[in-house]
């Protein structure tokens, strides 16, 4: 029986993967060929999707950009034996894009059948959970602290310290909430992991539950991710059936239940306190902090809130030890980061590497520059609230502190590339417009400042009293930064100010920008 892999990842589906899988099954049935089609996650080489792989004695051989109507021709050319063809890539694991990565969190994504627990275990799954069950909660927390793992959602807060607070807070009920409201444009790592290896997230959440004494877990997934929701629901059902979840996790007597909650199209619900409100069934209005959610979280109970990537790094840390994870990275940015190359990029997709690679290498060497073939003008890192950086920042190593030094922000690790046709005044205006659209409305600088911001930028671009309006915009940005409750209003000035500083000509500015 020949195994053929066709991704079920929604990026692959968007290029016709379902039709390809169907065509392979149909053709094999008609020709009497013994073929099993496995629906794997995506390898993260999104420009090659649909990427079909076939298992051979030498390893898995890949075929790029396969379309359904090509299948009869590809099969007669020997696809099922990995024969060469113009769309044949050779052994997938030998491709530079894959070979040069350090895949820890994404080690299984694209490799295994995401809904096979046996496949998951055969590839190292559940080892971390088994170790955690044999440890004391304090030791688990300590291991996570020692690993240097920091929140991958954007803020970069040390995960172990957060867990420790929840562990040391007495309560009749505690919660683990996974923030899977991946709303930042240019980010899709959470989605790809949930679709391609959901058990890793589930395992990470169970370990978190054991570590802090929480018995209930919730995954808050955005409604724009219907395929991720579907895969997670199926994976949770399998985990319940196999007693990985439930009243006695792997027979340990420890209880942990997990459920998926779906968002309803609100960006600000990715902010942790707005997410809690939404999980409580309310409007996603940001809460004032303190109290922090670790003390007063979901339904007023101590709650660990971590991003998908943070929780998914945990199984490996518990399996291989804190030292192993800690050995990757630079300075206080330890471990690996799942970078997402997006926008106008030739080789877009997932790149998991230790912190420290330079921005220029990531965009040019790994990503191959722009898709349009034109020169790169700017990149936006960390989503709609992240700064724009120009090519003079190519040498900046990718890390929390190193990016902060040049006025940037790593955020969730998404990098959106723009070529030289982009107008940065439009991008700055969009940042304010987006904030106005998505603001929860709780605090004035964000709710009203963003609308005023659009108007001021329009006046600057129209050439009306530029010096005065630039001063006004700067003043507005300062108020939003210092006076907003959360990152929505607080960071919107980042893309605005950086666009203005780097590309004043795009704003038609005739005076000096301070």
């Amino acid at each position: 029986m020949t195994q053929v892999f066709v991704p079920l990842d929604s990026a692959a589906l968007s290029m016709g993967a379902n039709e390809v899988a169907q065509a392979i099954s149909d053709h094999a049935a008609k020709a009497g060929l013994e073929v099993t089609v496995v629906r794997n996650g995506s390898r993260g080489m999104l420009w090659l999707e649909p990427l079909v792989e076939v298992e051979t004695e030498a390893g898995r051989v890949g075929y790029a950009n396969v379309s359904a109507d090509q299948i009869p021709e590809l099969i007669s050319a020997g696809l099922l034996t990995g024969s060469s063809h113009e769309s044949c890539l050779g052994l997938v694991e030998e491709l530079d894009f894959i070979k040069n990565q350090t895949r820890i969190t994404f080690a299984r994504v694209g490799v295994i059948d995401p809904l096979s627990l046996a496949d998951y275990e055969a590839h190292g799954g559940l080892k971390g959970l088994r170790n955690a069950i044999a440890m004391t909660p304090a030791d688990i927390v300590n291991e996570v602290t020692e690993s240097g793992l920091r929140g991958r959602g954007g803020a970069g807060f040390p995960a172990g310290i957060k867990w420790n607070t929840v562990l040391n807070t007495e309560a009749d009920q505690k919660y683990i909430c996974c923030n899977a409201d991946e709303g930042d444009s240019g980010t899709f790592a959470d989605r790809m992991l949930m679709e391609g290896d959901p058990f890793t997230l589930i395992e990470g959440m169970i370990i978190a539950g054991i570590a802090v004494g929480a018995t209930e877990g919730l995954i808050y997934v955005r409604s724009e991710y219907p395929h991720a929701i579907d895969v997670l629901d199926q994976a949770i059902a399998i985990a319940n059936e196999s007693k990985v979840l439930g009243d006695s996790v792997l027979g340990s007597g420890i209880k942990f239940n997990l459920e998926v909650r779906v968002g309803a199209g609100s960006y600000v619900c990715g902010e942790e306190t707005a997410m809690l409100e939404s999980l409580e069934g309310k409007r996603g209005m940001v809460r004032a902090k303190p109290p922090i959610p670790a003390l007063v979280g979901l339904f007023g109970k101590p709650t660990v809130i971590n991003n998908v990537m943070t929780l998914s790094a945990v199984p490996m840390i518990l399996a291989d030890g804190a030292d192993s994870y800690q050995s990757f990275g630079v300075d206080r940015s330890r471990g690996t980061q799942v970078f997402q190359l997006a926008g106008n990029i030739l080789r877009g997709g997932i790149v998991e590497l230790p912190f420290g690679i330079t921005l220029g290498d990531l965009v040019n060497k790994v990503g191959g520059g722009t898709h349009s073939g034109r020169p790169v003008k700017t990149v936006q890192i960390g989503g709609p609230l992240g700064a724009y950086l120009g090519v003079e920042s190519w040498d900046v190593p990718m890390g929390y502190e190193s990016l902060a030094e040049v006025g940037g922000m790593l955020g969730h690790g998404g990098i959106v590339v723009f070529d030289d046709t982009v107008n940065m005044a439009k991008q700055a205006r969009f940042a304010m417009e987006f904030c106005a659209e998505e603001s929860c409305g709780k605090c004035t600088p964000c709710r009203i400042g963003s609308t005023r911001g659009v108007e001021v930028i329009d006046r600057i671009v129209a050439g009306e009293e530029q010096a005065k309006n630039l001063e006004l915009l700067e003043d507005l940005c300062e108020v939003m930064t210092d006076g907003s409750l959360c990152a929505m209003g607080g960071l919107t000035p980042l893309p605005v100010r950086s666009a203005l500083k780097l590309f004043p000509a795009d704003f038609g500015i005739k005076v000096e920008v301070k």
Partner: protein
């Protein structure tokens, strides 16, 4: 889609009776059932969840997913966020506009409705779109209308 009774909605919301924290879930369930949330459903949810109608209305209007009128047969989501802007979404949006669809307004024409969305998580294969939940990468007018004609036919 307009054939519903208070009883059928209450049956559907049964598990959430008296649960004030299930307002969002209840709205989502009603929309799953009917395709939209009719005004009268707000009262039903309020009664069932034991909260005020104002609270239900507040949640209903906060989230952009909810609709107060029935959707078209084909609902197209078009991404307007940065990564797709970098990949030429502006010209796609203007082509759609020329064909009678304003994604910012979400008007219905020929059983098709096009709406803006901020990010579908397909940022390396932009412009991204989705037709009744099925993703389209490197979206063009041709690809979008091929997908809509499959569901409106």
């Amino acid at each position: 889609m307009s054939n519903y009774s208070e009883e059928s909605i209450l049956n559907f919301l049964g598990p959430y009776k008296g649960n004030g924290s299930a307002v969002l879930r209840s709205l989502q369930l009603v929309q799953e059932l009917l395709g939209y949330v009719p005004d009268s459903a707000l009262d039903i949810i309020a009664k069932n969840s034991n909260v005020s109608r104002a609270e239900v209305y507040g949640v209903f209007t906060f989230y952009s997913d909810f609709r107060s009128t029935p959707p078209a047969k084909a609902v197209v989501k078009v991404c307007v966020a940065e990564a797709c802007q970098a990949s030429g979404s502006a010209s796609l949006i203007s082509e759609l506009h020329d064909r009678g669809y304003d994604i910012h307004k979400g008007n219905i024409k020929d059983d098709i409705q096009m709406e803006q969305t901020f990010c579908l998580g397909n940022c390396a294969l932009g412009p991204a779109a989705m037709v009744n939940g099925a993703p389209i990468g490197r979206a063009t007018c041709e690809k979008i209308f091929a997908a809509t004609s499959a569901v409106t036919a």
